[in-house]
């Protein structure tokens, strides 16, 4: 095309050689860039992981195959092999005969095929003839209602029948040929029966190895597999491919549309639901809790829950950085930056939650229950949120039914002195470092001289308001002080420690956020009269209290009150109360009035008028009212005049989805994430005021709870679960009618803190010892943190309050109702007492119905047949009763009221006379079968381990019969008041 004659070249605008050169170079560059594009597009991170996983799987299956081989018995294997060899030899000996038979078999097969073919052709022809006959004559018959065939038709029919006979004959021949063939084949197989059997036996014995070896071979990344995944070919059926889980019940909110959640995490996390990869490096590690999560038999199978439902992040991305992985700490962040070039995804709102907070997401689906079964971490979070009283100021959906978390101040006049109140409000931790009451005043944003003076003014004003609005209270008990030492002992024994903490019985590492106040310094707080009245009947002072009566005798009350009043805080008592400064109080109230909407538009004169109307006490009370309204004391305490005021805290129902942009980080440099903000807020609530020029009334108001790191983490985890993600019936835990009733009961059990003493729910599940974050000490502490807190004080937990596991299945509702109404010592020798809670009838019913529904037992009336024993069985059962030495621990007869402390076990178990009115028969039988299964750690021995009987001579040694007879016997002695010693 290029024409190089000089004349024509002159006409050209560009020199052709230049164009050709440009074209040549351009083409080469284009080729390079195109190849680059293909490589860049093809070489994905996840493909490398998948290839690596093929190798890992091959290695693993090989190991397991070897392991399985190692487990086999060498001798047995050899003998099986030998058998096979012998059988094979035998078969070989009959080689000639077999060859001949096989020759015949081939002939038979040919014949069979041929005859079958003939038959099918004949049948085809007959079918056609039949159709023609019907089409030709059939209509005529149908139309004319003729009863006889005419001659032509009869002939045709005769022909047809003849053909049919032929077809049937051929069919017969074909079938016969097949029979011959099969029998010959069987005869040949018979020759090799022994060999086949031996082969089968060997294969069965080696089944495990073979399975692993097959898997191993399948896992080999062969050339074919590589070829299938090559560029351009990989559209068909590649081996390296993106795995995805599509969840129809869980939806992602894209603001304008709800779309099915799609998780592709398993593209790289290839072993997440496979057992056996627990110790591999990521991304090939098995999920640490397959029993609860992802496992096919777990409550959350992987194809129903996916990954990002709990972990958050961008499930559709298959790139480490872009799927918004979040490091759990600085160290991991550094590691990732180096290894994966990790950086934060700035525009992604739903980044993955750091692992320490993931469990909080349980709450997103488990909204209908107060706690989540078997999720220790999130339960701890919920409990901390509850005991720290966060819900007092912050509304959270599902927490509206709870009473205010702190004591009522309606009768405070009768409980503590004004001086104590002022000092306490000023700095609660000065009184008791373990108190739950947060510090409200003199915090970091109040350090200027002016604000400090304002705070003092408000403290006195609040005191004035609260005392001016307090009713009088007259304690109604007046006992002498008893023996403090004895009081201390009683305090430790009767059950106070289920709810309260005290320094004499401190447990290291236990959180200070419990169900009831720490009493280490209570002697500097309340008067003798008040304390004794309170111990006698807590509801006399405060009708809404959940503190029960422990039925202390007057003498016990004297002793305990002597002990508690000796617990003083001298330092606190020595603190100056100080005096309010009237001018400052006036100044602060002025600030409030300047913003009072009732005075708007406000002028100086109006405010001065208002102020001059008030005496100095009135002014203080008025200021107190406004200060309480500002700092929000009424969120936790009932205060007269604040009955219908909304609490000051922001609602936290969607705290886990709050846009980071909407959080005010002020001038504080922390990472801009929700959890970092919440953590910082909890650590120092006023910090975001730092460096900000604010007026007094605009300052941040959240008080300082002195949360430690673990507690903060717990609370942040809780908040991370409070999301705006909507989970419908397919995804959320929706309680059925029984569960809902059980939950109602459970709420009361939580309300009265029954779990301070009893283990009642499976709130805690041990972390597996091989889990990466397993810590034995923490585990022991955690064990009794959620439930049975008092049990941490017992070396032998069986001497503490009994577990309520399966209580619903166990006890008869009527008995439970009466017991809760009027508790009595069931295990007389236990020092700890079941308190009298003064439940209302409604509450009693709710608890009893709740347990019944939890246990799935009949309610309200239970059929209790008379004990069914023949005279012979009765005699044998009595013998068995004696043999098993039941009365070593149980009473079976009237029980003494006091027990010697001789270390014997008599009275540590319930009186057997109770059995017939207390327990379900079915439960008793199950209990006798295997006590440890129903109540792990019980003192009750199992007498029939694995169904074998301890007394072969009784009832023929039949354990079933023995258990039945013994059960009936227990009901018999209770009903008939038979005394056994």
């Amino acid at each position: 095309m290029a024409n190089n004659t000089p004349e024509e070249q002159d006409d050209r605008f560009y020199r052709p050689s230049l164009l050709w050169k440009a074209f040549g170079i351009g083409s080469v560059i284009m080729l390079v860039v195109t190849i680059w594009m293909v490589l860049d597009d093809f070489g994905r991170e996840w493909k490398a992981y998948q290839t690596e996983f093929f190798n890992l799987k091959e290695k693993k299956y090989n190991e397991w195959a070897k392991e399985a081989a190692g487990e086999l018995d060498e001798d047995e294997l050899n003998s099986l092999k030998e058998q096979l060899a012998n059988a094979t030899k035998e078969v070989l000996g009959q080689e000639k005969q077999r060859e001949k038979m096989e020759g015949e078999l081939v002939d038979l097969q040919t014949k069979m095929k041929n005859t079958l073919n003939d038959f099918q052709v004949a049948k085809g022809e007959w079918d056609v003839a039949k159709y023609r006959y019907e089409a030709h004559y059939g209509h005529e018959f149908a139309a004319s209602d003729a009863t006889a065939l005419d001659a032509e038709a009869a002939k045709a029919l005769a022909q047809l029948n003849k053909e049919l006979a032929q077809v049937q004959k051929l069919k017969d021949i074909a079938n016969q040929a097949q029979v011959n063939y099969e029998s010959k084949k069987a005869a040949i197989a018979e020759l090799a029966t022994a060999q086949t059997e031996a082969e089968k036996a060997l294969k069965k014995y080696r089944a495990n190895i073979d399975r692993f070896e097959t898997n191993r071979d399948d896992s080999r990344f062969t050339l074919t597999k590589a070829a299938r995944s090559a560029p351009l070919v990989d559209f068909a059926n590649p081996v390296l491919r993106i795995n995805q889980i599509v969840l129809s019940d869980i939806r992602d909110d894209l603001n304008f549309a709800q779309v099915k959640k799609i998780d592709r995490c398993t593209t790289c996390h290839l072993a997440i639901d496979l057992k056996g990869f627990e110790n591999e490096k990521q991304p090939f590690r098995t999920h640490p809790r397959l029993d609860v999560m992802l496992g096919s038999t777990s409550p959350h199978p992987i194809n129903q829950i996916g990954c990002t439902s709990c972990h958050d992040g961008r499930g559709q991305s298959v790139d480490f950085v872009r799927s918004a992985h979040t490091p759990r700490n600085e160290e991991q962040k550094k590691e990732w930056e180096k290894k994966y070039h990790w950086h934060e995804m700035h525009h992604v709102e739903e980044k993955m939650l750091p692992l320490q907070f993931t469990e909080g997401k349980c709450i997103t689906c488990h909204k209908q229950t107060e706690y989540v079964p078997r999720a220790a971490k999130v339960n701890k979070s919920i409990q901390t949120f509850r005991f720290a009283g966060c819900y007092g100021c912050h509304r959270v959906e599902g927490w509206d039914h709870l009473r205010k978390p702190a004591p009522s101040l309606e009768k405070i006049k009768g409980k503590v002195t004004r001086d104590w109140f002022v000092k306490w409000v000023r700095d609660p931790k000065a009184f008791n470092e373990h108190t739950r009451m947060p510090q409200v005043f003199h915090l970091s944003n109040m350090q200027t001289e002016k604000f400090s003076a304002y705070q003092e003014a408000e403290i006195f004003a609040i005191t004035d308001y609260v005392y001016a609005n307090s009713e009088d209270y007259n304690p109604n008990v007046w006992l002498p002080l008893g023996n403090s030492e004895r009081g201390k002992e009683i305090f430790g024994q009767v059950g106070c420690l289920g709810c309260h903490q005290i320094d004499d019985y401190a447990i290291e590492g236990q959180t200070r956020f419990g169900a009831a106040p720490d009493l280490s310094t209570v002697g500097s707080k309340v008067s003798q009269k008040w304390l004794q009245s309170w111990l006698k009947n807590p509801r006399h002072y405060w009708a809404e209290t959940t503190m029960p009566s422990l039925r202390l005798s007057d003498r016990e009350i004297s002793d305990v009150s002597a002990y508690l009043l000796s617990k003083k805080n001298e330092e606190f008592e020595g603190l100056e109360t100080g005096k309010p400064v009237a001018e400052v109080q006036r100044e602060v109230l002025r600030e409030y009035l300047l913003r009072d909407p009732k005075l708007a538009p406000v002028t100086d004169t109006k405010v001065e008028d208002e102020l001059s109307k008030l005496s100095s006490h009135q002014l203080s009370v008025e200021l107190g009212k406004r200060a309480i309204g500002r700092v929000g004391c009424y969120g936790c305490h009932t205060i007269k005049g604040f009955e219908n005021v909304a609490p000051i805290g922001a609602e936290l129902s969607e705290a886990g989805s709050k846009l980071v942009k909407k959080l005010d980080f002020g001038l504080i440099h922390i990472p801009h994430t929700r959890y970092d903000w919440y953590d910082q807020k909890l650590e120092e609530p006023r910090i975001f005021d730092r460096g900000i020029a604010k007026e007094y009334l605009d300052t941040l108001r959240m008080p300082w709870f002195r949360f430690n790191e673990a507690e903060r983490q717990d609370l942040v985890r809780f908040l991370m679960g409070q999301t705006n993600e909507k989970r419908g019936p397919g995804a959320a835990k929706i309680l059925n009618a029984h569960e809902a009733k059980a939950q109602e009961g459970m709420r009361l059990i939580h309300k009265y803190n029954c779990q301070g003493c009893h283990i009642a729910q499976d709130m805690y599940v041990a972390t597996p010892e091989d889990a990466p974050d397993y810590d034995e000490d923490a585990e022991n502490l955690k064990k009794y943190m959620l439930e049975g807190r008092i049990l941490a004080h017992y070396e032998d937990p069986t001497l503490g309050p009994p577990s309520l596991w399966g209580e619903g299945k166990k006890v008869i509702s009527k008995w439970l109702y009466e017991f809760l109404q009027k508790p009595y010592p069931l295990r007389g020798a236990l020092k700890v007492r079941m308190p009298s809670f003064q439940f209302s009838n409604d509450e009693l019913n709710t608890i009893v119905v709740g347990w019944a529904n939890d246990g799935g037992v009949e309610f309200p009336f239970v059929d209790q047949p008379r004990p069914q024993l023949t005279a012979y069985e009765l005699q044998e059962a009595a013998k068995l009763f004696g043999r098993l030495n039941c009365t070593l621990c149980h009473y079976a007869g009237p029980q003494p009221t006091t027990f010697s402390d001789d270390g014997g076990s008599k009275g540590l178990a319930p009186n057997l006379w109770e059995t017939h009115k207390r327990l379900h028969r079915g439960w008793v039988r199950d209990w006798l079968h295997d006590p440890a299964k129903l109540m792990p750690g019980t003192r009750m021995p199992g007498f029939w381990p694995d169904g074998s009987s301890p007394a072969p001579d009784i009832l023929g040694g039949d354990s079933e019969k023995q258990i039945r007879a013994l059960t009936e016997y227990l009901y018999y002695i209770g009903e008939n008041k038979v005394v056994r010693k």
Binding site: F13, Y14, L19, G26, S27, I29, M30, F256, E349, K661
Partner: protein, 298 residues
């Protein structure tokens, strides 16, 4: 920020624009010298009328295609698309910016009412561009660069294109931060930055600042805004007439009345933007005519 994938085109544009402007002026200066020396620029190679479709046009286009292909591929591989999260009505970006090539238009919104900045001016720009060949029938400069032969046309174009269009794009991209506040080149885009907004209408100046009518704004909007209306009419009608009669007499004669007045109206419309900007910066002028009762503001 300059290196963000979103901003690559605009940064490239900055340099290309400067280069090509320089190149054209450079060539124009050389040509102008030739013209001054009485030589014939119109016979230069570039200006000749006959060029072969093959290979001069098609082949060179094909080579350019290859070049662009390579460039786009490499660009797509090296720089990731700056995708963000799905739009969220409760989480809108701040600042909310138009595509970079419209940022000049968006900048106009600061100074003019939306109906002017968003409707009238863009329409005028398009209409004006369409009208150029009908207004400007001067054949000089076809096929070669020159400045001296048509200084007015080139100056007007460069002012409109470089200053009013491109400079405002750069301004809108790099110097407008959260809440559409102005941020210096190295200033951190602090979302909390506050600026005093104290813009005053012309009528408020007259009645409030100068105390006319006892400081009270007349109730009748026409009366209230009468000065502004007069000024606007004077600007839109008076200036073109003055241009025709006095300052641009020669051009008027060349173009004829119809062409000249259309040109003049377009010209002063263009000049209205910098004028208003200066008024805003110097005396905080909000609107010259402000009749919110009729949604009419200038």
């Amino acid at each position: 920020m300059v290196a963000k994938p979103d901003n690559i085109p605009i940064v490239a544009m900055l340099f290309l624009l400067l280069f090509f402007t320089w190149l054209s002026i450079h060539k124009a200066v050389i040509n102008d010298k030739l013209i001054d020396a009485g030589q014939d620029v119109e016979n230069k190679k570039e200006a000749k009328e006959l060029v072969y479709t093959w290979p001069d046009l098609v082949f060179s286009e094909f080579i350019c295609t290859i070049g662009v292909w390579c460039l786009l591929l490499a660009w797509a591989i090296v720089l990731k698309a700056p995708l963000e999260e799905p739009a969220n009505p409760v989480d809108t970006p701040n600042p909310s910016k138009a595509p970079w090539y419209f940022l000049g238009l968006q900048e106009m919104l600061v100074y003019y009412d939306p109906w002017l900045a968003g409707v009238v001016f863009p329409t005028l720009i398009i209409v004006g561009l369409i009208l150029i060949p009908y207004i400007d029938t001067n054949p000089k400069g076809n096929g070669y660069y020159t400045f001296k032969e048509r200084p007015f046309a080139i100056t007007t174009f460069l002012f409109g294109f470089l200053i009013l269009w491109n400079l405002l794009i750069v301004y809108g991209t790099f110097l407008r931060g959260p809440n559409w506040n102005f941020f210096g080149p190295y200033e951190v885009w602090d979302i909390h930055k506050l600026e005093v907004l104290r813009n005053v209408n012309l009528s408020e100046y007259i009645f409030r600042e100068f105390g006319l009518n006892g400081g009270k704004l007349p109730d009748n909007p026409l009366l209230r805004e009468s000065l502004g209306i007069l000024l606007t009419i004077a600007y839109m009608v008076g200036v073109p007439i003055l241009l025709a009669r006095k300052w641009m007499k020669k051009t008027y004669e060349e173009l004829g009345a119809a062409r000249f007045y259309i040109m003049a109206v377009l010209l002063i419309s263009m000049a209205a933007l910098p004028l208003k900007m200066v008024l805003r910066w110097t005396i905080n002028l909000k609107y010259i005519v402000a009749i919110p009762e009729a949604f009419f503001n200038i």
